[in-house]
């Protein structure tokens, strides 16, 4: 079955919700519409069921299965909202809206480089599945790792950790340099410092890079103009504000002003 319409905020049944690393959870829920509409790099809004916490928690889509109609997300517990989600279990429901956002533009090329940092790695999984050609996958973590085995199905995976607990001791960027990583397209998601470094890295090599940004959101579907980032523009200021939730979260690295 294929659903061609984003059905808005609705209650989805949880298939499972497990811890996969210290403070990191993988949640899988049923959704015909999201699983059939989702594009890599898009996200969903999760909502708290506690009346005092109103705003959406945007979480990137990690993987979907259109046939079995499920959606997988991976999220870190960083505050009250994600903590609440982590306590949900199989059979319970969660309010979800999506898919939202402008995902990665998947371009065919010989070698694609995928770079993820921390909870920025999950959205690259569905992407890795869908890109054709050779894929060099660089995953960075503070400590430990997750999803690495899944990624290995789709490409050559290299891991870097800040504390050296796994793979290369250092950042993904130093690892990429060390490996003389080379390709025609870069797809990245992760913390701002990583994206900034990648912007430079790609710029120096003149490789097209697509970066997925984060910002605090009011609505998560383009209505409030609350989630803006600076995008280069030909005006006096040299930039304009674009919505991360609607114009992004994925932007061309050349456009982004950090």
């Amino acid at each position: 079955m294929c659903v061609d319409k984003n059905v808005g905020r609705s209650s989805c049944k949880i298939i499972y919700n497990n811890q996969i690393a210290e403070g990191v959870y993988e949640i899988v829920f049923e959704s015909a519409s999201i699983s059939s509409l989702a594009q890599p790099g898009q996200f969903v809004n999760l909502y708290s069921s506690i009346g005092s916490r109103l705003l959406p928690r945007p979480i990137s889509i990690c993987e979907v299965n259109t046939k079995e109609q499920w959606v997988k997300l991976v999220y870190a517990v960083v505050g009250d909202g994600t903590k609440e989600f982590s306590m949900l279990g199989k059979g319970q429901t969660i309010d979800v809206l999506g898919p939202v956002g402008n995902g990665y533009e998947v371009e065919a090329c010989e070698t694609s480089i995928l770079v993820g940092g921390g909870v920025g790695t999950p959205p690259l999984l569905e992407l890795a599945k869908r890109i054709e050609g050779k894929k060099l996958i660089y995953l960075g973590f503070r400590t430990g790792s997750y999803l690495v085995e899944e990624f290995k199905k789709y490409g050559e995976v290299q891991v870097a950790t800040d504390d050296g607990s796994e793979g290369h001791h250092g950042t993904v960027i130093t690892l990429m340099n060390q490996n003389n990583a080379d390709g025609q397209r870069i797809y990245a998601c992760g913390p701002k410092p990583m994206l900034k470094a990648l912007q430079q890295w790609a710029g120096e090599r003149n490789i097209r890079a697509q970066l997925s940004l984060e910002e605090r959101m009011g609505c998560g579907f383009g209505a409030c103009v609350g989630c803006v980032c600076k995008i280069k523009a030909k005006n006096e200021l040299g930039y304009t504000y674009k919505k991360v939730c609607k114009d992004g979260p994925v932007f061309d690295a050349k456009e982004v002003l950090f």
Partner: protein, 300 residues
């Protein structure tokens, strides 16, 4: 069952509108709701020229509410006229343009430019707490509020709603002033001024430091102000502030609002207005209210 209400000569098919800044010009909602069902759409603030808005972060969550300091980012009236009016005109609903400016002449320029455009009502926003220029100052002084209303009236062809700030000692006084200035209706409330600190980072959560508080947390303040204003003026009132449900909407009608606007609730659930409409209809059916006007202002 009759849900229609009249605001300054404009007949709305029902009293449910969308609050400025929380619905864009409706494009983001088209896939979720039937815009034809809305009594009216109050679009986001429109200035004479493009406004960039405030830096990020612009949004914070608070207990039962949210803070925003968008700072009225908008592409200016020409883009609005070219893109948003034709979009909205596809639907059978009223178009209300929220007008913003830095000086009185900015406001007048927008009103004048809209004279021959297909717009049903203007809403003068003199109450945005998120921009340093003009806006706020006009909303907190009765003299200034009366003056700007009076000036803009000279250029406005459509009836003029003035949107009031709740950040004042005596909102009834401001309402009387804009009524004296020639306003055809008032809308209230805009956001309360609030602030939130990230105690870990030791800095305000919002780049602009102070921001506008909206959402269900502020509803009791909004209901009280609508009640007070309803006792003070004779022009119609559009009530808003924290409306999440049909019963919330009815509270505002009962204290004297002729119509209501849904703000933050749109952001939390794009179908909020439809649910609210359904709930109002159910309420009327259950209570055997044939005309919504029966309950407007029934609280003494």
């Amino acid at each position: 069952m009759n849900l229609s209400v009249n605001i300054a000569g404009v007949e709305l098919k029902n009293p449910v509108m969308t609050a400025s800044g929380t619905f864009g010009s409706g494009k983001e909602f088209e896939q979720y709701i039937d815009i034809n069902r809305l009594g009216g759409v109050i679009v986001k603030g429109v200035a004479n020229k493009e406004w960039l808005g405030n830096p990020s972060p612009r949004i914070a969550e608070t207990y039962g509410g949210m803070l925003n300091a968008v700072g009225l980012q908008n592409p200016g009236m020409e883009v609005f006229i070219k893109e948003d009016i034709p979009f909205l005109r596809k639907f059978d609903t009223k178009i209300i343009v929220n007008v913003v400016g830095r000086t009185i002449s900015d406001y007048c320029e927008v009103a004048e430019r809209l004279q021959n455009e297909d717009v049903d009502l203007l809403e003068l926003n003199i109450s945005c707490p998120n921009v340093k220029e003009g806006g706020v100052a006009f909303g907190i002084s009765p003299q200034m509020a009366e003056k700007i209303t009076n000036e803009v009236k000279k250029y406005a062809k459509q009836p003029l709603i003035v949107k009031l700030s709740p950040n004042v000692t005596d909102i009834a006084e401001i309402a009387r002033a804009v009524e004296a200035g020639g306003a055809d209706a008032v809308s209230l409330i805009n956001t309360l001024i609030g602030m939130k600190v990230d105690v870990h980072k030791r800095q305000p959560v919002i780049a602009n430091k102070i921001a506008g508080l909206s959402g269900p947390a502020i509803k009791p303040v909004a209901v009280r102000m609508v009640y007070q204003v309803a006792k003070a003026i004779r022009i119609p009132i559009i009530g808003l502030g924290g409306i999440m449900t049909g019963e919330d909407a009815i509270e505002f009608l009962m204290v004297g609002a002729s119509a209501i606007a849904v703000g933050t609730a749109n952001l939390l659930n794009p179908r909020a207005t439809m649910n609210i409409l359904d709930e109002i209809e159910t309420f009327m059916k259950t209570k055997k209210i044939r005309d919504i006007k029966e309950i407007i202002g029934i609280i003494e």
